[in-house]
Symmetry: C2
Subunit: 318 residues, 2 copies
């Protein structure tokens, strides 16, 4: 939760002068998102989110992210639509940083998703994968399976510090993925961060997806594996099979899965758990003790990895 | 800028069940305010700010603050109106902390007020002082002039560390205030934190005042002194007499000042500068080096004290 960039009224006025969105009426920083600074903006013409891109988001990736959001909007998918200025540009600069204005989307995210939420969220993800079909942009998944061994190498000692012996267990996982990671599943645009805080509901129904700043080109079923990790574990660390089945059922309303995709779900979810474990471990290690903002606990994902390592009878491969 | 209390969708739903404000449609933490956690809430019935009261705000003071806000609303003053639940209560509890729901107010605060903004802000403060007349609540100004010597005592070494010799200079100020602080000026409700970030404008006109959580009973002209410090200094540390005169001119549109009040403005502004210096020095000293959130620089107010110590020909006492 952070706002890293402070925008003055004069800077906002100058920024908005390029757009045809009227004059600012209200403007407040949102305590949301650790990657970017986000502001709620109300103008005489409507409501918007102004995002200033901070660390982690590479400037060269922004045309892909914003282009994807524009494409999804034209396909009727409920995601935040980037607003073009009078010259047609969506990628702007504010305080020397990249910035964009997107339409405000109402909706509430849920903290503890029910089975019904999981079904709806699954449908939202399947719909996203279909809606993104035909998008011409390409972005390699920088946090995809090819990157994990290299990301892990400098973190091995930190993993052992967290839990003795963990580094060897992770090396075993990496060896498994090197040998058995699926390669021929249907590819497309994956959200890659389809967590409950990035999905909005209205009256219990899927309403919108936000935060496309990890989106990339990858095997679509990998996105399901990552999402199921985020949506279908209980707070006690156990896997909720009912939720997972509901998620898949919702997904298949929009995009039926092949036999191969279903069979691959366990290893994809296992790998996705490692991916989030790695970035959390990295953030954990990089944050000085006593910092005001504690990063997310990497052990949550270590436990999810362990669950997938044991295997989940009934998950995938129906 | 902070949100200290995390509210889940389920907690929000339970909280709103007591109110007649419809169901939540959107909910976002606002990166604003260092004292409380604030959330933008949109329901099917309108827009609101939900505040959860954190450190510094004493629970026993909340009935005064909320009662004042309710009173101001009945008098037509543009400030956030607390929303009563079905049982008539405005002071509620959320996650074990005091909380309140207030109506959302549009408007933009300004970072670098122009002379015209100062005139408008002055009118907003004069109007506030008039609108609060007749309010029955009372709260001693815990950060009023009686408190300063005691607040300063444990901070003397910190003051000298900041600037050698400063502790003695402050002791001189305290002696001056002990001898000459005015005692017979008209009293009433002071905002006591009437800074640019707590005042909203719309189309360049005063639109609303927010954040009444320092409000207290005190000499009204003291509020002008504190406000002029906040509104009428340039970023180079110089006092803008034109802005100050505009502020007073605006103020007197709503509440003419007596000769005695005008004559007292220099010492009141000098004292108000000490009051903000003291709390900033305290926060500065209490914050560990390397913390992510740096407190405001106490030296800004040390320089304002120095300006008032020199005297400002033309300010007050016309």
């Amino acid at each position: 939760m952070a706002v890293y960039t402070d925008i003055t009224d004069a800077e906002l006025e100058a920024f908005l002068a390029d757009f045809d969105v009227g004059a600012a009426v209200a403007f407040k920083g949102i305590a949301e998102g650790v990657e970017n600074s986000n502001f709620m903006l109300e103008t005489t013409a409507g409501r918007f989110i102004l995002t200033v891109y901070e660390r982690r988001v590479q400037r060269e990736d922004l045309p892909f992210f914003l282009g994807l959001m524009q494409y999804l909007a034209t396909r009727g998918y409920p995601s935040a639509t980037p607003i073009a200025d009078r010259a047609g540009a969506v990628l702007k600069t504010l305080r020397g940083k990249p910035a964009a204005l997107v339409a405000f989307l109402p909706g509430l995210s849920v903290r503890r998703p029910t089975v019904a939420h999981c079904r709806e969220a699954g449908e939202g993800l399947g719909w996203l994968h279909r809606a993104a079909e035909g998008f011409s942009g390409r972005r390699v998944n920088a946090l995809g399976h090819q990157a994990w061994a290299e990301v892990f190498a400098p973190l091995a000692a930190a993993a052992d510090a967290l839990k003795p012996g963990l580094a060897d267990v992770v090396r075993g996982d990496l060896a498994l993925f090197a040998e058995r990671w699926p390669r021929d599943l249907p590819e497309g645009v994956v959200h890659a961060d389809y967590f409950p805080d990035n999905v909005f509901f209205a009256d219990g129904r899927f309403a919108a997806t936000i935060d496309f700043y990890f989106a990339a080109w990858d095997q679509l079923a990998y996105d399901i594996g990552a999402a199921v990790n985020a949506w279908c574990f209980e707070s006690d660390g156990s896997f909720n099979m009912t939720s997972a089945q509901a998620f898949l059922e919702g997904y298949e309303r929009r995009r039926p899965l092949s036999v191969e995709e279903k069979a691959a779900l366990p290893i994809l979810a296992h790998g996705a758990a490692l991916r989030f474990f790695l970035t959390r471990l990295n953030d954990w290690t990089a944050t000085p003790a006593g910092a005001l903002v504690r990063p997310k606990d990497p052990m949550e994902y270590e436990r999810k990895m362990a669950v997938h390592r044991e295997g989940l009878p009934g998950f995938g491969g129906w």
